[in-house]
């Protein structure tokens, strides 16, 4: 018989507001096995935990039930508490009376009754719990970083500096990501390339870092500490180890009309190209969609001019298989498509552009060599209108755009406005805003400087319609302070498009079995306390793939993710989840049903001797579970007809006891 202690948490008023915690503690006192019952304001606090520890010792408890928030929140906390008091941590069960009770019910009586049932259910389970001991597995001391933007670069550098090997997989021909496309960075206005490119070089030169550029993750198997990853190195038709990056081919290639995606299609590149001067690795890549030689076998100019003989038109995609102990997702973001927002005439006029396009227009290495010229006619614009929140902060019922605030737009718009006014005082700049959000160090000061020192007109209101009329853009919007509808003749309109996670993130998440939110941002293990970890063990999050972020935030999160990876790789062995399948060999008949459904191949068979009738010996084939591989899904337990296979911690009897307790 267990000696169970019940601990009912108030969670301030979060639980106590709709659940009579005293009554719950009182009611659960008389449940079978319960020898102690208490309630407290905050069980997860140190004092609360101490209360539990003291009770374990005082009442000689063999099991505890904590009626509190979701086990996803504090199960681990209370297990540690139990362990500290000498109780096996798996003798702890949580009754979720917050998320699944007090927060969803308004009626005190209803909430209290349900909380009692939930507590009773947990008690019924604990009565059947047995102490569990986790197994161990080794750790491969190498990390994989997926995405080579500033997030991936920083994470890789930090991990490598700690002495561990890191591979970066980047789908584009060069690392650098979005930051490489930016001109200046807020709020200090230092140039993005000046601070980013040295880091890119550091990556290239670091002996612990390998870059798989123009590559994608194809398949991920395994689990924390032991991932098996297959990487597809896409054919770039240039031998990476031979190309010197001299760039001669990119000048001689006769195919000149290839939209330059680095400049967002605002100018052209050749069919063989190096994205930009400081690319890492600095190797040419052939765009197979445009290359005449690859399309119809006619040309071959690049091969002729290449003195290093690096061109290889027969190159095929290659696959690399590698083992990793940890994986970091750093897949970044993109501005959303403006297709559904054509009231701003993005598809109708070349002079309506997104902020990222404006970034390239301002950049010295951009399509206009840094001169601010209208894309339609190359004329210098005298009146620019910036529109903020295009596609951000849209209610889901509006069925377009994103519900969240994209976070970076207010600041980069202030930056654009300021830089424009600074470089071209003859250009008038107006910004339509809903709110200006500048929570960050030196951020509000920066925005105010744009308005006060540089004379940027900030108008509270939103643009309703942009109409191209001749070579002007008529911007119709409201000025809520003046209570007027404005019609501004502008030369250039810049839209602060919402940002969204890169499209590659969703399939990657599936491969990693990492969870995502409805916006396709990776979910963190805990929104506050574990912000750089995925709930899936061994998967870490860096940068905007987890949520919109500016550069300083991205870099700090990248470092945090690296710290977590280092913490993992520094271990020689990992203790696993002890809630794994277990085969009762006396009952197993060796039918192989369990083996067939196991997604991890954790079940094998062995011939074992058993005592038969009349002192005979029988040899039977029985299932055995490799506890290091088993992840504890329990699929085998249902495939097993005899019930020989059971799951520790979620045993048939335990679940049945829960069912019974609920239905009582």
């Amino acid at each position: 018989m267990q000696r169970i202690g019940v601990f009912v948490c108030w969670c301030g008023s979060n639980i106590a507001g709709t659940v009579d915690v005293v009554k719950v503690a009182e009611a659960l006192k008389s449940e079978p096995g319960v020898v102690h019952s208490a309630n407290y304001q905050y069980m997860c606090s140190q004092a609360g935990q101490q209360l539990i520890k003291d009770a374990i010792k005082e009442h000689n408890l063999t099991g505890i039930v904590v009626c509190s928030c979701s086990p996803r929140m504090h199960e681990a906390t209370f297990r540690k508490t139990a362990a500290a008091a000498g109780l096996n941590p798996y003798m702890v069960e949580i009754a979720n009376i917050r998320e699944q009770c007090s927060w969803i019910h308004k009626d005190m009586q209803e909430g209290t009754e349900k909380a009692i049932v939930l507590g009773r259910t947990a008690i019924a389970k604990v009565n059947l719990n047995a102490p569990l001991k986790p197994g161990e597995s080794p750790v491969t001391k190498r990390a994989l970083v997926i995405g080579g933007g500033i997030a991936g670069i920083q994470t890789a550098l930090d991990i490598a500096d700690a002495g561990f090997e890191v591979d970066i997989v980047e789908k584009k021909p060069t690392i650098g990501g979005k930051m490489a496309q930016l001109d200046k960075t807020f709020p200090t206005l230092d140039c993005a390339a000046c601070i980013l490119t040295p880091k890119m070089v550091d990556v290239a030169q670091h002996e612990k870092i390998r870059i798989f550029s123009y590559s994608e993750v194809e398949e991920v198997k395994g689990f924390v500490g032991n991932f098996d990853v297959k990487i597809r190195k896409k054919a770039r038709y240039v031998k990476e180890d031979v190309c010197t990056g001299c760039g001669l081919c990119t000048e001689k290639c006769p195919m000149k009309k290839v939209p330059n995606d680095f400049n967002l299609g605002m100018d052209n590149k050749r069919a063989i190209y190096i994205p930009f001067a400081q690319a890492v690795p600095k190797i040419a890549t052939i765009d197979a969609d445009y290359c005449n030689m690859l399309k119809n076998g006619k040309c071959g100019v690049c091969a002729k001019v290449c003195t290093a003989k690096a061109i290889d038109y027969t190159q095929k995609d290659e696959f690399v298989e590698e083992k990793y102990g940890a994986i970091v997702a750093a897949t970044g973001f993109n501005p959303i498509s403006m297709d559904k927002f054509d009231e701003f005439a993005y598809s109708q006029s070349k002079d309506v552009i997104t902020s990222l396009e404006f970034e390239r227009l301002m950049n010295a290495a951009g399509p206009t060599a840094g001169k601010l010229l209208r894309p339609s006619d190359g004329v210098h614009p005298h009146k620019i209108v910036f529109v903020q929140c295009v596609g951000s902060r849209c209610a889901s019922c509006a069925e377009k755009g994103k519900e969240y605030c994209s976070k970076i737009c207010c600041m980069y718009t202030a930056k654009h406005a300021m830089l424009t006014r600074d470089k071209y005082p003859d250009t008038d700049v107006t910004v339509f805003y809903i709110d200006v959000r500048t929570p960050g160090k030196q951020f509000d000061e920066f925005y105010r400087r744009a308005a006060e020192e540089y004379g940027v007109h900030y108008i509270k209101g939103m643009v309703g319609k942009v109409s191209p009329e001749g070579n002007k853009l008529i911007v119709q919007g409201s000025d809520l302070i003046a209570n007027k509808q404005l019609k501004i003749e502008a030369d250039l309109v810049v839209l602060a498009a919402a940002i969204e996670p890169d499209k590659s993130a969703r399939p990657l998440a599936t491969m990693l079995t990492a969870s995502m939110d409805t916006n396709d941002f990776f979910t963190e293990a805990h929104p506050k306390l574990r912000p750089v970890e995925s709930p899936t063990a061994g998967i870490f999050l860096s940068g905007a793939c987890q949520g919109p972020k500016d550069i300083p935030e991205t870099v700090s999160q990248a470092g945090a993710a690296a710290a977590k990876v280092i913490g993992l790789l520094a271990k020689d062995k990992l203790t696993g989840n002890p809630c794994v399948a277990q085969s009762d060999e006396l009952m197993c008949n060796g039918c192989s049903s369990c083996e067939k459904v196991c997604p991890y191949g954790a079940i094998t068979y062995a011939d074992k001797e058993f005592r038969g009738p009349n002192r005979t010996t029988l040899i039977r084939r029985v299932a055995q579970v490799n506890e290091a591989i088993c992840q504890g899904c329990g699929c085998c337990t249902v495939a097993c007809p005899s019930g020989a296979m059971d799951l520790k911690g979620f045993a048939n009897k335990q679940i049945m006891a829960e069912v019974d307790a609920i239905c009582k």
Partner: protein, 258 residues
């Protein structure tokens, strides 16, 4: 193919050509527009208040009539189409409205089963612009035509669901199919002033003029519309450009315009 057809009041009077050519062009394409028996006026505008029942019953009757025949319900007039489609949507999505309407029309029953489409959708989705193209005998080669959608054809976008609300192409593609050159301009989905013309000629004029000026500025030779009120407003309010109905243009291309 046979479809149910709701012409609407104006097509029987001031906009006879819109009606006449709609039928004739459909015939050319092998579609018969079967006019609904004893149809009643749709009311011209959809009242969005959900406690307005009686004003929407005439539309429900037309919708039910088409449903009884198992046909889609087609109209040409943008206003009629808008009212019919919004009423049908309310029947599908607003349980309270549906309940009360069914009380009125009992023992009949209707739950929004009818497919409500505009004449343009009939051409695009049921017939196909490829087939329209085949029937062209008199190509409008190179004629610069500004499609004018106005409001009612497209909005509310979630209900009308005909095309992208801000960047529609259904008329542009039709114009291309019959040989014309569509003129893109921002005001093609801005209001002409609508019924306000009764109340404030000035406002109607201001609205319409911006539309026609914008079309002209972008090189249009003619404006084409599906709505009699749009046509009226544009013509009355100083458009230098001729304004024609979409069915007139189609008839011209098919060589059946008198």
């Amino acid at each position: 193919m046979k479809v149910s057809y709701f012409p609407g009041c104006t097509l029987k009077t001031k906009a006879k050509v819109l009606d006449e050519y709609a039928r004739k062009c459909a015939e050319v394409l092998g579609v018969t527009l079967e006019e609904i028996d004893n149809w009643q006026c749709c009311g011209g505008v959809f009242t969005t208040a959900n406690d307005e029942i009686a004003t929407k019953l005439s539309s429900v009757r037309a919708l039910k009539h088409a449903n009884d025949k198992g046909q889609p319900l087609v109209s040409v007039c943008s206003a009629c189409h808008n009212v019919l489609k919004q009423t049908n949507n309310a029947m599908q999505t607003d349980d309270g409205f549906n309940f009360r309407v069914n009380q009125y029309i009992a023992p009949d029953k209707y739950n929004g089963e009818t497919e409500v489409i505009h004449y343009l959708e009939l051409l695009r989705d049921k017939i196909g612009y490829e087939k329209v193209k085949e029937k062209v005998v008199n190509s409008l080669a190179g004629k610069k035509i500004a499609p004018y959608y106005g409001c009612l054809l497209l909005r509310p976008g979630k209900v009308m669901a005909m095309d992208d609300v801000e960047n529609p192409t259904i008329m542009e593609d039709l114009i291309r199919a019959i040989g014309g050159e569509p003129v893109s301009y921002a005001f093609r989905n801005e209001c002409c002033g609508g019924y306000i013309t009764l109340e404030s000629k000035e406002l109607a004029k201001a609205k319409s003029k911006r539309v026609s000026d914008n079309a002209k500025l972008n090189g249009a030779e003619v404006i084409v519309t599906a709505c009699p009120l749009c046509k009226y407003n544009l013509e009355k309010n100083g458009s230098d450009l001729p304004v024609v109905y979409i069915t007139e243009l189609l008839a011209e291309a098919f060589g059946i315009k008198e």
